[in-house]
Amino acid sequence: MMEVAAKQIASFKLLNPKTTSPPPHRRPSISISGAASLGHLTRPDFPILHQEVNGSKLVYLDNAATSQKPNSVLNALQEYYASYNSNVHRGIHYLSARATDEYELARNKVAAFINASNSRQIVFTRNATEAINLVAYSWGLSNLKPLDEVILTIAEHHSAIVPWQLVAQKTGAILKFVILDQDEIPDMNKLSEMLSKNTKLVVVHHVSNMLASVLPIEEIVLGAHKVGAKVLVDACQSVPHMLVDVQGLDADFLVASSHKMCGPTGIGFLYGKSEILSSMPPFLGGGEMISEVYVDHSTYAEPPSRFEAGTPAIGEAIGLGAAIDYLSRIGMQKIHDYEVELANYLYESLCSVPNIRIYGPRPSENVHRVALCSFNVEKIHPTDIATFLDQQHGVAIRSGHHCAQPLHRYLGVSASARASLHFYNTKEDVDDFIQALNDAVSFFNSLK
């Protein structure tokens, strides 16, 4: 058996002529109007995309994990550290004043980007995970009691599950999970049925990082508010890809992460309604978040400072502001429209791969998917596929559980592969990916 396998591997190049042939000529996809696609127009802004990986042109399709950064963001970081690096809020000198202005300007940009009514509703955190933990430890510990209920979906990211498990252990609150409906979308009818006077909080994603589905947040908020429950929206996969209006959604809390929206790592944000944030106790103690400190007690600053203990990620916040400027110049509606086109193209193209199972809803007039697909190919481990795509074709996708183990268990698999796109991707990227995937499938099937 070993010798047979060795021969097959050795003759792989012959068995799979696609592997040795040069990539097909990459023609820019042209829209109906005759203009180059948004992907082709924006790719020059992202220097990282123009490189070879393992001898092939890089095709980056791991955007749900993290996005790439345009030159304007790189320049903003360079400018901050080269020209006005200083600590914020306390210094009276020029550099500190400028750093403070730019840091707070970034907060204003975030507020405007998600249509918050006031920038004081924006708390900078390390990432979305910290933002959820902030709500869990501050609001959760001071508001949840034994037998209170927190409703989540089975498709939540671990960062939206584990903090509430920790809080539930401390408070005696109960976590309830909404399963999927027949279209593999979290079942909204089941969620409505679960709502009761015991419900104190609903934690939901806006866009699933595995199923590619979009939840009707307005409806969820309406139902939750009727029973007096608050709603926390994990918007990590929606804010970078579509218009998000927190006033329109009427969500009580919303979190997102900079690095998924073309900004730097190390910074995310929490949006909270003003009256709720004002009622919440501090999460972390330290400098910046205090009003007065005495030896036996302290008084605390108003939000958002109350929740920003210590020196914040100043350069990263400014970089996030630059990312928002960049996205806004393109226009989030334009980004969304283009990504819907990419999403359908990706889904339809993947359907042509033999023995593939794509998770989440089938796109239709009423069901929209975002531009990502999680999938498995029969009898080939997703990590083997991802490794082959990287090593042989320079195509970057993700494999594993995507921080959604409960969802994978529910679907009966331990792992999946995931290709996720952003507006700087093109249909040619999808074509390259599909060609590489077919090659991988042929390769691994040839070993059996």
């Binding site: 060795a6 990590t383 090593q391 042989q392």
Partner: protein, 216 residues
């Protein structure tokens, strides 16, 4: 401690010294250096298989190798590690290194279904990995392992070949950094979900340490 029989088929061959290894590998390194499944057969049938078991054609026509003295003592972990590194470094194309791992995946002896239990799971990997560790009556570590990913099986096949039959102190001296030069599947030296080398090696060493502490 009646575990030796469970892993007999994976017992690697007593092989060569570093000096001879270098000489021979410089000629044949592009071929796989071990085959744990067929090892007993090759040892009985052809002495020259001791060095590079899979090279039946090349081996039989190479006087250099048949003329070389065969070491009787067990090959040390350090030598095996050097051979592995040398072999993978000789494969300049990334995909060739992956293919070699897939080849070694085929040579990994099957793990008993009873060993595929949660207690033997290696956490932190993007794939499912099971490692079973026991100590035989000679005080040597015996390892069995499996994964649901073929490439991961290749990684663990190399580790099992290198460490199965070694004494605990040898198992514990191997560092992930030592494997970095193989340049396959190691994304940086630090802990990572996808760094199978590190996660599985750490699991083998943890289990070795636990067995040692129970012994003491």
């Amino acid at each position: 401690m009646n575990s030796a029989t469970a892993f007999k088929t994976s017992t690697p061959p007593p092989t060569t010294t570093r000096r001879r290894t270098t000489l021979i590998l410089s000629s044949f390194i592009k071929q796989p250096i071990f085959n744990t499944k067929n090892i007993h057969l090759t040892l009985k049938s052809l002495k020259c298989f001791v060095d590079i078991p899979n090279l039946s054609v090349s081996c039989s026509s190479t006087t250099t190798r048949t003329d070389s003295p065969i070491e009787s003592e067990e090959e040390r972990v350090a030598n095996k590690l050097q051979r592995l590194v040398f072999e993978f470094r000789s494969l300049t194309e990334p995909i060739d290194r992956v293919k070699r791992l897939l080849h070694y995946a085929e040579t990994l002896p099957p793990l008993n279904e009873s060993a595929r239990v949660e207690a033997n799971r290696v956490t932190g990997c993007t794939t499912q990995v099971w490692v079973e560790a026991k100590m035989d009556e000679f005080g040597r570590m015996r390892f069995g392992a499996d994964s649901d990913s073929q490439i991961t099986k290749g990684f663990i096949s190399c580790l099992v070949w290198m460490l199965d039959g070694a004494y605990p102190d040898e198992v514990l001296t191997v560092k992930t950094e030592d494997l970095t030069d193989m340049n396959v599947g190691i994304h940086g030296k630090e802990k990572s979900r996808v760094n199978t080398w590190r996660n599985v090696l750490a699991a083998m060493q943890d289990r070795t340490s636990n067995i040692l502490s129970r012994w003491k």
